[in-house]
């Protein structure tokens, strides 16, 4: 059952991929697509290989990274609302990049984004800290929201001051966009993503134990502090990688885990993470496709589309929580 449902996500991703390569300002038929993609010839070769394929791969990679990050946070904090976008890490990463652009610092974007995300994470943790107590999840979420508000306020300020030539770039780091992505960015997100996934593989079992509660996990021989810190760092870095390529795309990290798990009915920690990554990739790629294809001749930033998809999800989730009296 579960395998069949996992195949469903894979099939949906494949469908979105094919459609993404075919649909756009220039429509490409299946034959031209094949010739352009595989044989590198025909009228579609340039469009597919230079414009659409890198954009699609960036969407898949960034979406998977964000989805993975959100799923880790949600499992670790045992709260479906805990996600790097809600908790301000994405906004922090985006702000760091926009600072780098406006000050002319020429460091690699993933590094800058990771620093921004990391600083935001440390800020959230430090500002939620009260003496002698673990901060509760709701405080973490609220403080994270506040950090996110501050970061996006400052991003807007810096974005307005950028010269018009950089305005599109600024837009990317405020709302998230996948326009003008090249093979460099593809290498970036997939390369770093692979490294981080390798780091994650080692920690999956620890995540499974942490889900049983701190006391039992420690009783089973887990180093609580070490494994928590490792997982949090991996999740923040994953989110930062996604942001470095696509900007702080909202709601992907929040939606991916619950959606993927609902579709696949995954149970174990590894399966849940995979489901989160898959549905993150699916959401982002599908949102970008919609953003390009819904109105011909107009390209919406992908962040606007995930906002249009994600906000109703969050509202639905909250109204359900209201009915059940949770939260």
């Amino acid at each position: 059952m579960s395998r069949l449902r996992a195949a469903l996500i894979a099939a949906l991703i494949a469908l979105v991929c094919v459609l993404s390569l075919m649909i756009g300002a220039v429509h490409i038929g299946p034959c031209d697509l094949w010739r352009g993609l595989i044989d590198n010839e025909g009228p579609a070769a340039f469009t597919v290989r230079v414009l659409r394929a890198p954009r699609l791969l960036c969407a898949l990679g960034a979406g998977a990274a964000l989805g993975l990050s959100g799923t880790i946070f949600q499992m670790l904090l045992r709260n479906p609302l805990a996600a790097p976008d809600v908790m301000g890490f994405n906004a922090g990463a985006g702000f760091a990049v926009i600072v780098a652009i406006s000050t002319g610092v020429n460091w690699p974007m993933p590094l800058v984004a990771a620093m921004g995300g990391g600083v935001a994470a440390v800020l959230v943790a430090a500002l939620s800290y009260r003496r002698g107590r673990m901060p509760d999840n709701l405080t973490l979420i609220l403080v994270g929201l506040g950090v996110g508000f501050s970061a996006s306020g400052l991003s807007t300020l810096l974005g307005l001051r950028l010269p018009d030539t950089l305005a599109a770039e600024a837009q990317r780091w405020i709302t998230g966009s996948l326009s003008a992505r090249s093979w460099t960015h593809v290498a970036q997100i997939w390369g770093l993503g692979a490294v981080l996934c390798a780091m994650l593989v080692v920690q999956v079992r620890g995540l499974g134990l942490l889900q049983l509660g701190p006391a039992l996990a420690a009783g089973l021989g887990l180093h609580l502090g070490r494994s928590r810190a490792g997982l949090l760092a991996t999740a923040v870095l994953l989110a930062a990688c996604g942001v470095a390529v696509a900007g702080p795309v909202p709601f992907v990290a929040l939606m991916a885990g619950p959606l993927g798990i609902a579709i696949t009915r995954a149970r174990g920690p590894a399966a849940r993470l995979l489901a989160g990554a898959g549905s993150g990739a699916l959401i982002t790629a599908a949102a970008d496709l919609l953003a390009r294809a819904l109105w011909l001749g107009v390209q919406l930033p992908v962040g606007v589309m995930t906002g249009l998809l994600g906000a109703p999800y969050l509202l639905w989730f909250l109204s359900r929580a209201a009915k059940e009296g949770t939260l």
């Binding site: 609302l81 809600v86 500002l127 939620s128 009260r130 509760d136 709701l138 405080t139 979420i141 609220l142 403080v143 929201l145 506040g146 950090v147 508000f149 501050s150 970061a151 996006s152 306020g153 400052l154 807007t156 300020l157 307005l160 001051r161 709302t175 909202p250 709601f251 109105w295 107009v298 390209q299 919406l300 930033p301 962040g303 606007v304 589309m305 906002g307 249009l308 994600g310 906000a311 109703p312 969050l314 509202l315 909250l318 109204s319 929580a321 209201a322 009296g325 939260l327």
Partner: protein
């Protein structure tokens, strides 16, 4: 003493807004400008044409957003409830833009009126999602619902603006607030609406205070919770929509001012609302002046300024809020 602080802040806000800027305007210029039929110096011209309308807009919008914030916080019993953060501003802005697109009317007065239905829908939605109808208190749910509503409306607006690139400049006003275009707005009508909203709020204040003790107790005190809630929602909708019509959506003012008002005006809701009417303009005008001076001759939109001040305030308030599982959420 505390009343003196409130008035001092109010006067400081007005004075800074009128006097400071690239063109310094002294008291004699102001008096001259008022006395002379036609402006005789550049300073007088700047005062009459730019500073005075700007200050009036700030006065109106500041009072509107701040009083709406006090009412919203009392109604939801949530110190983080700012009409802007909860999506009421965005609702007003979105319905103005939609109406302009659909009807083609672009004159300021009609536009301003179109804000009310959107603000009302957003306010009721958010209030229901936050558990307000049943009288339970869910601070985190309320705030997140606001985030979602804001994101939804903002994404839709961005999409509209990208689609209608011809109208970009017109719509930019409805994305981030500014006091610079107040001169073109029907300020007198809007001021009247804000005063109506404020009057309703002040009349309802004792009932709202009783409601804060819980629906059961409020009923026992002979109140009708539904009516009080409806009245408060109408009041804050009127004020918010009028504020948005004058200055565009400015968030966080309803977050920054209420704790100030509580601190300076004491625990009574009625005095808090009145204090908000003075402190709101003070904060907004000071923020606007700072935004004009920081990177002169360019300026930072006041909506961005309040967002930058408001983020840390939000964190500070969130830290102070009790979010224990049985109590609050």
């Amino acid at each position: 003493m505390r009343a003196a602080v409130i008035f001092a802040l109010f006067v400081a806000g007005i004075w800074s807004s009128l006097a400071l800027g690239v063109q310094a305007v002294g008291l004699d210029d102001m008096i001259g400008a008022v006395l002379h039929a036609a402006p005789q110096t550049p300073a007088e011209l700047v005062f009459m044409q730019i500073r005075l309308p700007r200050m009036a807009t700030g006065l109106l919008a500041g009072a509107a957003f701040a009083m709406a914030g006090v009412v919203m916080q009392s109604l939801t019993r949530n110190p983080l409830a700012d009409p802007g953060l909860l999506g009421v501003n965005a609702g007003a802005a979105a319905s103005v833009v939609l109406a302009a697109l659909l009807t083609g009317h672009t004159d300021a007065a009609t536009q301003a009126l179109w804000g009310f239905p959107g603000a009302m829908i957003a306010a009721v939605t958010i209030f229901a999602l936050g558990g307000g109808l049943r009288g339970d208190r869910a601070p985190v749910r309320l705030i997140l619902a606001g985030v979602a509503l804001n994101a939804l409306i903002l994404s839709a607006l961005t999409a509209l603006i990208v689609l209608r690139s011809d109208a970009l400049e017109v719509f930019r006003f409805w994305m981030a607030g500014t006091l610079a275009q107040g001169g073109q707005k029907p300020l007198v009508v809007l001021a009247f609406i804000v005063m109506c909203g404020g009057a309703i709020a002040i009349l309802l204040a004792p009932a709202l205070e009783a409601l804060a003790l819980g629906h059961g107790l409020a009923r026992g005190l002979g109140l009708r919770p539904r009516r009080t809630q409806a009245g408060a929602l109408i009041a804050l909708t009127l004020m918010t929509a009028a504020g948005v019509a004058a200055a565009g959506p400015i968030a966080f003012l309803g977050l920054i001012v209420p704790p100030l008002a509580r601190h300076l005006a004491g625990p009574q809701l009625r005095t808090q609302i009145a204090a908000g009417a003075l402190l709101g303009p003070a904060v907004l005008l000071l923020a606007d002046t700072a935004g004009r001076l920081l990177i002169a001759p360019a300026e930072i939109r006041v909506g961005v300024m309040t967002a930058i001040i408001g983020g840390p305030v939000f964190i500070w308030l969130a830290r102070r809020m009790r979010t224990t599982r049985n109590g609050a959420p």
